[in-house]
């Protein structure tokens, strides 16, 4: 309990609450409304799924730049498969989901294998797979968005809700909760932290580090595949021209949430806060009427401030 209260994720959480309070004070009716909260959450859902995968990778002291590209690629694969099968039945949609997940997983395995076995730095590997996945997506579609998807995917899943909460948000929350528990409470999570902290020590303990790293990158790829499917459901089109900065946004969210780029430290709860802070900032600024350009300045400043505060806190604890 004490760890929970003094942990960095609590402080980031307080900053998030602080922002919500400030914006609510400045513009209560507009900002602090259920519809607005729902919109913020929906806007953040896809990024949250990406950021959960990014958290695991960064905790191992790795990095994954390919997430946005794999998202696009997986969506393209899913769209092509579903349109190839034809029809609008639930079965077709499920096949599309499986195709999307498989596509993401394939890239994840590719990344993991090269990082773990070939010992190529993760930055380089995932930069390469970014290019390849995006290029492949362009090749498959001929550069033109796949704009036809089974209608129920958008109408039921993309904009549908249960108890007022959009399905997309529920999926993102479920992913965050389950993988948050795994990271904190299981052996898999512990090895993730340990490898990020001291990979050699873990090797000497007899743990198969290579296999674990492959699993971690595969997980990130799988989640990118899920995000690609969610994106397809939301917009009804593959948006291959977009998502260029998803990788950096995911990394920023993870870092704002208190995860260290050097590995060994981080929580999914922090990542959740880290995803919502830029989303709330952007939404709040528009509502309050701040000049559009200030939004980027503010998000950049929050990122630096969050990392700085975390460093200060950590240095003080180490004495």
């Amino acid at each position: 309990m004490k760890r929970l209260l003094t942990g960095s994720s609590t402080q980031i959480g307080l900053i998030l609450v602080g922002l919500i309070v400030i914006f609510s004070l400045l513009s209560f009716e507009s900002f602090f409304a259920v519809a607005n909260a729902r919109n913020i959450a929906t806007d953040a859902a896809v990024l949250l799924v990406l950021a959960v995968g990014a958290t695991y990778v960064i905790v191992t002291a790795g990095i994954d730049l390919s997430v946005g590209a794999v998202l696009v690629f997986s969506g393209v694969v899913a769209a092509k498969v579903m349109n190839g099968l034809g029809g609008e039945s639930l079965g077709v949609i499920l096949v599309g989901l499986v195709a999307s997940l498989a596509a993401g997983l394939a890239w994840g395995l590719f990344n993991g294998f090269l990082v773990a076995k070939a010992k190529i730095p993760a930055f380089i590997v995932t930069l390469g797979s970014l290019g390849m996945a995006l290029g492949a997506a362009y090749l498959i579609t001929g550069g033109v968005d796949e704009r036809e998807v089974p209608f129920p995917l958008v109408s039921k899943f993309g904009i549908g809700r249960v108890l007022g909460i959009p399905y997309l948000v529920l999926v993102a929350l479920a992913v965050a909760i389950v993988l948050g528990i795994v990271l904190a409470q299981t052996r898999f999570g512990r090895y993730t932290y340990a490898i990020g902290s001291n990979e050699e020590a873990v090797r000497r303990s007899g743990v198969n580090v290579d296999r674990h790293l492959i699993k971690v990158y595969s997980l990130a790829g799988l989640l990118s595949g899920l995000a690609g499917f969610m994106n397809l459901a939301r917009f009804g089109t593959t948006t291959i021209g977009g998502h260029a900065t998803d990788n950096l946004n995911a990394i920023a969210a993870v870092v704002i949430g208190g995860t260290s780029l050097f590995g060994g430290i981080g929580t999914i709860l922090g990542t959740v806060f880290g995803v919502f802070i830029p989303a709330v900032l952007q939404n709040g600024f528009v509502i309050v009427g701040v000049q559009a350009f200030w939004q980027q300045v503010a998000v950049g400043a929050v990122l630096i401030a969050a990392v700085y505060l975390d460093q200060v806190r950590r240095a003080r604890q180490r004495q």
């Binding site: 052996r187 340990a194 990020g196 902290s197 001291n198 007899g206 060994g264 180490r318």
Partner: protein, 258 residues
């Protein structure tokens, strides 16, 4: 010291790294219930010899006998299965996780039932057992839930030693355990070494610190230029003699047996 067979014996170990011949036919023996110090000047091959014995890099040639039988140790895992554990010079601790997590790294206790099969950790049990082990060896840790990074050098050494001792059933290797420690912490470590020996294990101590060696070690084996050149007892020789053996100024006969 009894004239029994050694617990661990290495014969004519050769190990090269590229063109560098680190070990040129080295011998080594350790008996149970003793502290044997492995000394030598820089580059004599001490760390390399230990690493071949614990599976970090297997030797190019030579034999290793454990309890009289030949063994082949190709991975650290195999060394641990025999009952040998190591406290490395760099400690091999993951600093961002807590002492209990480090203690049980690779040997985690899982919860019972279905949760355990999914990999859920029993953190309470691991913490409890670690605390017992620490107190047995006199290692004082105020907050076992804090990451190792928050602890002093002496505490970290204590954690690394406790880890090795808890899991070792036969031999514990320690590479320069007091090198970075202050006076009080060194005292603690030396006491811990004696306690381990008294439990019946063999402790192999690599050290440059002759006064410390003379205080805890039962025997000294001297390495020079990749081979053993002397086997001495602190009770029979002086520190100058040991230094002379290390530099080659004096030659001793490499006796067989004690």
């Amino acid at each position: 010291m009894n004239a029994q067979q050694p617990l661990l014996e290495a014969r004519k170990i050769v190990k090269s790294f590229g063109s560098v011949r680190a070990l040129t036919g080295a011998n080594f023996s350790a008996y149970e219930g003793e502290v044997v110090a492995l000394v030598g000047d820089n580059g004599a091959g001490k760390s390399t010899l230990v690493k071949t014995l614990v599976g970090v890099h297997p030797p190019d040639s030579g034999e290793i006998l454990f309890e009289g039988r030949e063994v082949h140790i190709h991975t650290p895992q195999q060394a641990r299965e025999i009952g040998m554990e190591t406290v490395y010079q760099d400690l091999a601790l993951a600093e961002e996780i807590d002492p209990a997590a480090n203690m049980f790294l690779g040997r985690e206790i899982l919860r019972g039932g279905p949760l355990g099969r999914l990999g859920f950790l029993d953190k309470a049990a691991m913490r409890h057992r670690s605390e017992e082990a620490f107190s047995d060896l006199g290692v004082r840790i105020q907050d076992t839930a804090a990451p190792v990074a928050h602890m002093s050098g002496g505490q970290r050494q204590g954690i690394a030693i406790t880890r090795a001792v808890t899991w070792a059933s036969k031999v514990v290797f320690m590479d320069e355990p007091t090198a970075a420690l202050g006076v009080v912490q060194t005292r603690n470590v030396l006491d811990q070494i004696k306690r381990v020996r008294d439990q019946g294990l063999a402790v192999v101590l690599i050290s440059h610190n002759l006064p410390e060696i003379f205080e805890v070690a039962d025997r000294i084996e001297v390495l020079r230029l990749g081979e053993r050149v002397a086997r001495l007892r602190p009770s029979d020789v002086s520190m100058e003699d040991v230094v002379a053996a290390m530099t080659g100024a004096l030659t001793f006969h490499e006796e067989e047996g004690s």
